[in-house]
Symmetry: C2
Subunit: 155 residues, 2 copies
């Protein structure tokens, strides 16, 4: 099984932008946004992925990801996925040997910026970067699958 162990945080300020990093455009939608059985279609530039995620237990979640043809992903995003779609720019940067992914949301979720760190183990100590704010791992409203039903612009 794929296991995804990650923690999610808000951002205190824009100082993470001082590191040289280039954002990549992500577009994604949900065929199922049920929290115990998420089915996501995602495009990253000209690549596309179908991902299935199980129930989140703390910071741990089962995850299965398959690369799929880009054209089929576009069809499913347009015709099958719940609307609105999620659009975001993802930046990746290293801080003390851990990879951080920072998502700047666009469209209905513009203004929301979230940082995620993927871990080997749920109890691994994390050296938090200075620009990290409140942890929101356990708050379902920050799940991308929740942001289609209740986008940041309506909070």
């Amino acid at each position: 099984m794929g296991l995804e162990i990650e923690k999610k945080f808000l951002i205190k300020d824009d100082s993470w932008k001082n590191q040289l990093t280039t954002g990549v455009y992500y577009r994604q939608g949900y065929i199922s946004s049920h929290p115990d059985r998420v089915v996501r279609i995602r495009t990253i530039e000209n690549m596309a992925y179908l991902t299935i995620k199980g129930k989140t237990m703390g910071a741990v979640r089962s995850e299965y990801e398959y690369e799929i043809p880009y054209e089929e992903a576009i069809e499913m995003l347009t015709q099958l996925c719940e609307k609105p779609l999620i659009e975001k720019i993802r930046y990746k940067l290293m801080y003390n040997n851990l990879l951080w992914e920072i998502d700047e949301f666009e469209a209905e979720n513009k203004g929301l910026v979230v940082a995620e760190v993927e871990l080997e183990d749920e109890f691994q100590p994390i050296d938090l970067p200075p620009w990290i704010g409140e942890e929101v791992t356990m708050q379902p409203k920050y799940y991308n699958a929740s942001l289609i039903k209740n986008p940041f612009s309506s909070w």
Copy 2:
């Protein structure tokens, strides 16, 4: 896009078994059984597939199918899919140049036998075999995804 055009029928009698045909065991479960966005995991012997199906319009439905690793399919069937799973033996036979698939259901759906024919075009004339009974294409209770919620044994 994949387009699936098929019609579904009940069976009048067992005379289809006179043709030499060997059944293959199918096991499948649903990550989403929403009729407009079905996500199915299926194993056929030691092969496994992830299939996404859109809304049915008459006999036509969009379909996207991807082969996935067998072990991951088993994990998803066991841990993520709605229960009960669908188990059936599928027989394939040709009748006047059309391929018929006959599903004999097992477990909670034992006793149900359904024949499907895949078409090139919704309005293609079909030469029905003599053992074919009532057409049930438009009856949602015969969808496999419905048979997990309302199995044949409870009809």
